[in-house]
């Protein structure tokens, strides 16, 4: 069955962001805590974390989890 116009546009956007090598969700999960802390400092992320940034652009589930993690880190009461 054909995709809707909207789905094709969503897919085009995803394809535009696709890289030859990407990390998968499991690899992203292993690195996302370090990535979130680095981002919070406002400094540029180191090379090993670029793949996390790219994964978050193409994976809506990991992006949703990252945003939730950022919510906790931004909170002053982050349990530490």
């Amino acid at each position: 069955m054909p995709l809707s116009k909207q789905e094709i546009d969503d897919l085009l956007r995803l394809v535009g962001l696709t890289e030859r090598t990407e990390i998968n969700c499991e690899q992203c999960l292993a690195l996302v805590a370090e990535f979130a802390e680095q981002k919070l400092t406002g400094k540029s992320i180191h090379e090993g974390l670029v793949a996390v940034e790219q994964h978050l652009t193409v994976c809506s589930e990991c992006r949703e989890e990252y945003e939730a993690l950022r919510r906790t880190l931004n909170d002053k009461s982050f349990a530490d």
Binding site: L3, S4, E7, C25, L69
Partner: protein, 200 residues
């Protein structure tokens, strides 16, 4: 509390009860904040998610490399566990057939009403090319998985329906995206062209 990373790892490996209690308190507070936009994440859901997360964190504690604060890492795992469970509950009774035969579009796409006729024409031909590449280059399984993903079905659920696992599913759809990208490039479109055309 005030444990440093090494202390957390040591105490949890030793099964120290006060460390586990502190971890439980911390995860409860962090998950409550993390899941605040999710109405289904009530207190009893949070309790179960915290319990499952603690088991997972203790199992994986050797994988913690000390590259972030321990509690940031532990919270990332707890969020993964809890959101996986929220997605599973939301989708468990939905069949793959129903998802991919659903004719309504995905809801997260903002229609650009400002598009000029030329831009709209360009987009039309790009969409037609994309449809051709999807038909010619992808396998049936890749088409099914991509379509279900575009409909918002979680990867773990798609994997379950297709008798696969999440890592294999990621590889399947990543390979599909690479084939589509190669097909667009062969027709002279770069990733930048595509990005400007669909976001414009």
């Amino acid at each position: 509390m005030g444990r440093d990373n090494d202390r957390w790892v040591e105490d949890l490996k030793a099964g120290d009860e006060s460390a586990i209690a502190d971890l439980r308190d911390a995860l409860r507070r962090n998950l409550r904040k993390a899941l605040s936009p999710h109405p289904r994440a009530d207190e009893s859901f949070l309790e179960d998610a915290v319990q499952d997360s603690i088991l997972r964190i203790i199992q994986r504690v050797n994988q913690f490399q000390g590259r972030s604060r321990f509690l940031t890492w532990a919270t990332s795992i707890a969020i993964h566990v809890a959101m996986g469970e929220l997605r599973r509950k939301r989708w468990q009774d939905v069949s793959l057939d129903d998802v991919i035969s659903d004719a309504t579009g995905s809801p997260n796409f903002a229609i650009d009403r400002q598009a000029t006729p030329d831009a709209e024409l360009e987009r039309k031909s790009l969409r037609a090319l994309m449809e051709r590449v999807i038909e010619e280059e992808l396998t049936e399984k890749q088409r099914t998985a991509l379509r279900a993903e575009l409909k918002g079905m979680p990867q773990a659920e798609i994997a379950r329906h297709l008798g696969s696992n999440r890592n294999a599913m990621y590889k399947l759809t990543h390979d599909a995206r690479k084939k589509l990208k190669a097909g667009l490039e062969a027709a002279g479109y770069t990733a930048t062209d595509v990005a400007t055309m669909v976001t414009r």
